[in-house]
Symmetry: C5
Subunit: 92 residues, 5 copies
């Protein structure tokens, strides 16, 4: 999982059916260097599905690719990015 910070939210107009009702957040992937120095990261933001209630500024583990769709079980969904966990503390 990449380390990412929650930087915004998304409002949808039209989407494929399986995404309706979901909560989407805008995430910015971060490096340890960016976290330590407070620099803004690389700016390649992603839209991800969240069901952990990650608020603005929270650090999350960003799971990407096919496995991001796993928690949805057998429902076909085009989700490829998912907040897998809230990172409480990084020690390095």
């Amino acid at each position: 999982m990449r380390i990412a910070e929650v930087v915004g939210r998304v409002t949808l107009s039209r989407s494929v059916h399986s995404l309706r009702g979901g909560r989407l957040v805008v995430l910015r992937p971060m490096t340890l260097e960016a976290l330590t120095e407070g620099s803004p990261g690389r700016g390649e933001e992603l839209v991800a599905y969240d069901n952990l209630g990650a608020g603005p500024g929270a650090l999350v583990g960003l799971s990407e690719g096919r496995e991001a769709a796993n928690p949805f079980g057998k429902t076909k969904t085009p989700v490829d990015a998912f907040c897998a966990c809230l990172l409480d503390r990084l020690s390095f």
Copy 2:
């Protein structure tokens, strides 16, 4: 999902059978910085399948990889990029 802007369309001559009848658009992935400043983004355009009717200039959530093929159900298809949703409003 990456954030992308619809910048063009594609006309196919030959394709694998499962792609026939589909609508393909050219997408340019965008960062929040590019969206805010009106800069052109990084220019690594992709061809994606669209069934939401995304028009030129629209912002979409671009789903990539195996899960992009999910909405097609059991039909074998080589699609690896899919317009999953129209982004109505990004708040950040």
Copy 3:
């Protein structure tokens, strides 16, 4: 799918069994900017499976990852790049 140009062919000596008999081409991913200006692209060439008969100089839609193996059905194959369609015309 990434936009790519056919730039060469590959002759195999040894391969896993499921690849024998296939036709492999060398593809160079392109951006719209490179196509418009005639610049050479980024040079990160790939070897891809082709059954559309894509000739040198043709533009193809390059499907990558697990879904690239879909057209092969149930045969186990390590193919991760596949010419999904010949791009006849890009309008942007």
Copy 4:
């Protein structure tokens, strides 16, 4: 698999259920050049699941994507990075 060095650990507050009880480490992908010269690598750190007991400073083979979830069997899990092996010796 990418070559990566263990540089830290993660403490979780909330996570999807299938991740609970697991051990997560922070990995920094390395190149052979970085390993030879002792340079710090590129700094695009990842959070990965570990059940090999990889300690700080250890070099591991980092497996990414859907196959990273394979060792978990049929349990649905959003893990997309996994310490597949401890690299005892690299000869090059």
Copy 5:
């Protein structure tokens, strides 16, 4: 598949069970430009599974992602990189 050169080997100490007995090589992805000019490539080396007997200096087709695990059949394995073929001759 990416084009890669075999640059080394790996000796494992501990690994997940499904990797034991396998042969792992260190691969360096190459571009056509690097091959033509004899330049060293980009240096983002990977560890890959090999059962074709690829020796040092050989050029291989590097298959990545979930499909890399296909030749292993039903055994769960975290392999995400696999030597799919020895490239005998590239014509471009």
